[in-house]
């Protein structure tokens, strides 16, 4: 009995001795949590609820899945899903490859490297509106500098309509968004590059490895985790891209550059179909989440496969 009481006393003492969690971390987190709840979580929940209703001058009627059924038969919706994924995959490839290329260049030592690094960050810092205005002028069929250069190419006789022709408008958007966003990716990759020990490169040189082999065997494997993370970010950034596309092409010609973000905007603020726009937004959210999860799963599988490959090579 005394042993039991001693045990219980000990447990109580241990519980009594458990240190209290300091309230300071929670207090410091509270403002941002409140902000996120009010301006992110709440609107998402409201949007989801809105997608199951039909609202007309404040009178809301529950319609279940009617908005989603409409979506299934909406060719503009399916077109915008296709355009969104094409754009997202293209942007991810462009941002990662261009970011890596620029990071590799900036990793070299040369005179004025600091200055070049600073000006390469300018596209990221410029707001969207000046970017759109500048590109729109550059791509103008009659006055744009691109067509001035194109006119020197043999065989190019007509004024190329960069933003009005279907395929060209898509390419123009990719160039513009790619230019705007690549500094972010190159700066992060640059910092990862600089964390790779020089000894590895020197050892590889001694073993006779050329630049390509060193890149393939040392640089790329070291960058895989960073590339994985940046791939996820590129997917998310490009999925939700709106202003650069809408301001330069309006989603046109036709619906050729209408991504889900543009379609949601048009449905809500041009056509005043708020409920339907909410439904499209919910589907967009699910697609973005699914794409991100899939990407992370694939990335982990690749990383695991590489680890196993490394282990078996060591053995």
């Amino acid at each position: 009995m005394n042993a039991v009481l001693d045990l219980a006393r000990g447990a109580v003492t241990r519980r009594a001795r458990k240190p209290r969690q300091a309230p300071l971390p929670y207090a410091l987190l509270a403002p941002i949590v409140v902000f996120e709840c009010l301006f992110v979580v709440y609107p998402i929940i409201r949007g989801i609820l809105l997608s199951f209703h039909e609202t007309n001058f404040g009178v809301t009627k529950f319609v279940g899945l009617a908005q989603y059924r409409q979506m299934l038969h909406d060719p503009i919706f399916w077109s915008s899903v296709q355009t969104t994924f094409e754009f997202t995959f293209a942007m991810t490839a462009v941002w990662l490859s261009l970011g890596l290329a620029v990071a590799l260049l900036m990793n070299w030592s040369f005179a004025g490297r600091g200055f070049v690094r600073a000006i390469l960050a300018i596209p990221w810092a410029v707001p969207d509106i000046p970017v759109v205005l500048t590109f729109t002028i550059m791509l103008d069929p009659n006055f744009g500098i691109l067509n001035r250069f194109a006119s020197f190419i043999p065989g190019v006789h007509h004024q190329i309509q960069w933003l009005s022709a279907p395929n060209l408008a898509f390419i123009a958007i990719i160039i513009m968004v790619g230019w705007k966003g690549f500094p972010f990716f190159s700066l992060i990759l640059l910092s990862s590059l600089q964390s790779i020990p020089d000894d590895l490169y020197e050892a590889a040189k001694v073993d006779g490895a050329g630049p390509l082999r060193r890149f393939r065997s040392i640089t790329l494997p070291a960058l895989y985790p960073t590339l994985g993370l940046l791939g996820v970010l590129a997917f998310i950034f490009s999925f939700q891209q709106f202003s650069l596309i809408y301001l330069s092409t309006g989603g046109g010609p036709g619906t050729d550059t209408s991504t889900l973000a543009v379609t949601i905007y048009n449905q809500a603020f041009e056509f005043f179909n708020y409920n339907y726009a909410s439904a499209v937004a919910v589907v967009g959210l699910l697609l973005a989440a699914a794409g991100t999860v899939l990407y992370i799963i694939l990335q982990r599988r690749v990383a695991r496969a590489r680890r196993l490959e490394g282990v078996s090579a060591g053995l």
Binding site: L24, A27, F57, N142, L163, S248, P253
Partner: protein, 451 residues
Amino acid sequence: MDNLSKPAGSFKSPISRRTVLQGSAAAAAAGIAAPLLAACGSGSSPSKASTGKSSKKTQLTLMSWEMFEPAETVAWHKVVDEFMVANPSIEVKWTGWPFANYDQNVIAQAQAGHVNADVVMCPPELGSTLIMDYNLCEPLGQIATSLGLVPNAAHDQFVVDGKLYLLGVLEVAFLLAYDQRMLKAGGFSAPPTTPDEWLTMTEKLTHAPKQYGTLLINTAAAAADMWNQLQNWPLGFGGVWADGKNLTIDSPANVKAIQFWVDLVKASGLAGTSEAALDKLYYGDQIASQFTVGFGSAALKQLAPKLYPNLRSAPPPWPGKKAIARLHGNVVLKTSSHLDAAYELTKWMVEPKNLYYVTRQNGYPLIPYSNFAEKVPAYTAFEKSLPWLEGFNETNYVGEADILGDYVFAYAQLGNLIATNIEKAVSGSSTVLEALQSAQSLAQQSLHLPT
């Protein structure tokens, strides 16, 4: 951790690093929460707009885009200020948004359940939506009757069951505006009167990059403004976009009309050029003509001082000389807590002397009341003093309902679908017929019409 690291019995300062940090965190949280709570509690709730507990005056809210028009707002504010002087028990508060997103914001409020205004100035499609779609407005015909004004035919669009629900304050009507200097220099003694003449004139006056024949907005990035011009074209070829409930976007007449429009765009040498660049060229005296609404000459005087004295107008150069007149006017909302005061403000704004004042100051071309010249004889002399006004007198104006049938409420939606598809015809990636058929199909699906 800190508790365990402190030696037992050590002196405890009343002010520690931890207490400072805790206090700062609490102050930051309060600093963020306070304005949020204040924002939730304040704002344009109808009760606040109407009770006016702090003053004995009746608070009226006038919703308009005019407060954002630098060349026009002064005259409108003067009229409203004079109303407040004449009615010292009423205080008018302005609210609104720039014209580019005015309709969207008003509709957003309407969808949310309450438009925060007593009197709303509306473009025609917004007026139709508030009157017919939402049934939000009070009849106003009695005001025109009391003033002895006869609303012109543009008001017919806002008549429901014999009652008029919108009183026009400005009418913007399309016509062919041209620079007489450029036409004379190009060997043209008169503006075109047929589509072929217009096409020929456009080709002959286009000398890229210094001069261009005709300004026609043709990029989807400016779909709303492109549609604003483009919607007129079927009128010259016997077509309409909708006839009652029947959408006729891809009718043979419309195909012919839009093919002519595409030919004009290509002849002008400005296919694919952004609206901003087109405006810059126009104000810089580099475009000979454009199909436009003739309004806001006060703005044109500032933006294009060399063009303005040489500006002339002509009716649309196609059979019938039909073009759209867009009537903008005031509606009084049923939800207003001060209907009598709202009626008084609306009446004041269409009083002949006030309407004439605003028209003269802002250079509006048309006053939408058939007998206005009888009420204000000086108006006739004013009209004659504007040399660019002659085209209005020869144009046969129709309303939005005449070309959009029962789909005036879907003005923006139809416009977006049609304009973005027609851009493909401009770039050559589809024919005009294919573009209009695509727009027809998408419009039928968007509006849930049987295909």
